[in-house]
């Protein structure tokens, strides 16, 4: 309908939205973290299986707008099989990208560049961020074990 719009809802985003990856439940849950933005109603459930410092399996269940669903789906697709460090690094790249900071997207993740269009819709940035922040907090908790059980995260008014 117009360029700014098509720049947010790029084909890649719409594809992830229509068929989100990582929907399948996973067998062993080592990391578990919930994200929610109550003011928009976005809700994400994120679980992962760890294996030798690797995110062996990722489950993402997101009820929310196309942006939050697509962003969670991309996370599930691109971080599966990656190390904790790599996951954190990429999550930080995504954060920078969405904040409009200088961000270098490694070639193998170039599809994440599609999230850039969200920057023109400031209220939607929190939707795109939600999955990534949920993951980061889940990883942190996995590493320090500070929270017993699930972490609950929001990106609302934290952007």
């Amino acid at each position: 309908m117009n360029d700014r719009l098509d720049d947010m809802y790029r084909e890649i985003i719409l594809d992830h939205f229509r068929s989100p990856r990582g929907k399948k439940p996973i067998a062993k849950v080592d990391i578990s973290s919930d994200g929610q933005n109550p003011s928009c109603g976005d809700e994400i459930e994120l679980e992962a299986t760890m294996d030798h410092g690797m995110l062996k399996d990722i489950h993402v269940d997101c009820r929310g707008c196309a942006i939050s669903v697509a962003s969670g789906s991309m996370l599930a697709e691109y971080l599966k099989g990656k190390s904790l460090e790599e996951a954190k690094r990429i999550a930080e790249v995504v954060r920078q990208l969405l904040k409009g900071e200088e961000a270098e997207i490694p070639e193998e993740y170039e599809d994440l560049d599609a999230l850039k269009g969200v920057r023109n819709f400031p209220v939607r940035i929190k939707c795109a961020l939600l999955a990534w922040v949920t993951l980061i907090e889940g990883l942190k908790n996995y590493e320090d074990g500070t929270v017993d059980g699930k972490v609950v995260v929001t990106t609302e008014d934290k952007e």
Partner: protein, 423 residues
């Protein structure tokens, strides 16, 4: 009903209001948004302003501006007179109450908070009950949730029927001799439901409970008479009824207001101040501490006049017809789920809906690209969302400048939204 509406000529004119003519009074409606004419359907959030109101602000600041109530110079006298004229007008507009019963606040939210912090603080105790409904806006919910917590009082709520009305048979069970207050919205900002104020007030009063009505969505759209309805407190906002932002009204029965402690304190609301004590001013000044939104109140007068010139009965008639038309046309989109009463006579023009596969935020963004402004989210009614089993809805809300052409644009854009997302 729907049949009738279908048979009338599709035009922006209803038997109530000529929205085409009205539109010419609202300069913002000339705006082009993303290449389309602005179709403003976010009136439940805030309405647009006619030239008369904008001009009243300009006139105030270029001719009259001064602080009120204490000045002996010409500008101060004129400003005071203009400010008090709005009070008098407001008193008439809501059914002919006393001027001392009209308190200007900065919005409906502050009006309700005022009651919770003064009347509520002194009249609700441990084990007492406050009765609200499941369809309240946070403004008429959070103050009571917190008051109940502070006082160890019990918050009860009137449930909804499946078609979006209050479950009235439940009310007589829910009002007990411990009920101190029944607080409910006159019109839901999500479902559009219009609640029977008089009936609920009678029931509450029989049990000795006071009644506060949140009229934020009602006063802009219906003839309201708080005297007839017999309520104790009634709150609403100027910005939703063609007036400026930053102005609200609390109506309170004099007998109750007289006994209440003040809310904000400072200048204007006192009679005498010593370091060791304070005597308060008379009503309504006791509740208007400091310099109020003088310009806003003065210009609100023009909004009241504008609505009176249309006639509140006509406004209501217009919205009944347009709501009927909209509800009808929305059925053309298969699977679209519309909330609230189906009968336009039982509801106002606030229409919430969801599309099973598209999040309301995406709908709103797509509609905006066609120049159509609607709202998406929980509409400051999270508990109602839970009751409805939704996380959010899309909401189109109508007003006097909306016509059938706006509804047609909405329907077409909703269809295109599905195409866009490939659904």
């Amino acid at each position: 009903m729907h049949q009738d509406i279908e048979n009338t000529k599709a035009a922006s004119r209803t038997t109530g209001v000529d929205s085409e003519k009205v539109r010419a009074d609202f300069p913002i409606l000339n705006r082009v948004i993303n290449g389309h004419r602005l179709v403003y359907l976010d009136n439940a959030a805030s309405s647009q302003k006619p030239t008369a109101v904008i001009d009243a602000l300009t006139r105030y600041y270029t001719h009259t501006n001064a602080n009120i109530h204490r000045g002996l110079h010409t500008l101060a006298e004129e400003a005071t007179a203009a400010y008090e004229r709005t009070r008098e007008h407001t008193a008439r507009f809501i059914g002919g109450v006393k001027q001392s019963e009209v308190i200007f606040t900065n919005g409906a939210t502050e009006a309700i908070n005022l009651v919770a912090a003064t009347w509520g603080e002194d009249n609700v105790g441990e084990g007492d009950e406050i009765l609200i409904t499941e369809m309240e806006h946070h403004a008429n919910l959070v103050p009571w949730v917190l008051l109940a917590q502070r006082k160890k009082a019990i918050l009860r709520r009137i449930p909804l029927t499946s078609d979006g009305y209050l479950n009235l048979p439940e009310v007589s069970r829910l009002i007990t001799d411990r009920t101190r207050l029944v607080a409910f919205t006159h019109m839901s900002n999500v479902l559009g439901t219009i609640n029977p104020v008089k009936q609920l007030t009678e029931q509450a009063h029989l049990a000795g409970a006071a009644v506060l009505v949140d009229g934020a969505q009602a006063v802009p759209h219906l003839p309201v008479n708080v005297v007839d309805d017999g309520v104790d407190f009634y709150a609403f906002s100027s910005h939703k009824m063609l007036g400026p932002t930053g102005v609200g009204v609390l109506y309170g029965r004099e007998e109750l207001l007289e006994k209440m402690r003040p809310y904000n304190t400072g200048g204007e609301m006192i009679r005498e101040v010593r370091f060791d004590g304070v005597t308060f001013n008379d009503l309504p000044h006791k509740f208007e501490a400091g310099t109020p939104n003088i310009a806003g109140v003065v210009a609100f007068d023009a909004a009241l006049t504008y609505l009176e010139n249309l006639g509140m009965e006509s406004v209501r008639q217009h919205e009944i017809e347009l709501t009927g038309y909209a509800l009808n046309r929305l059925t053309e989109i298969p699977g679209l789920e519309v909330q609230g009463p189906v009968d336009p006579l039982g509801r106002g023009g606030v229409i919430s809906f969801t599309d099973p596969k598209i999040h309301p935020h995406d709908i709103s963004t797509l509609l905006d690209s066609r120049g159509i402004a609607i709202r998406a989210g929980h509409h400051c009614a999270q508990p109602l969302m839970k009751v409805m089993g939704k996380v959010a809805t899309a909401r189109a809300s109508l007003y006097v400048y909306n016509g059938r052409d706006d509804i047609d644009a909405l329907i077409e854009a909703l269809m295109e939204t599905r195409r866009y997302f490939g659904i």
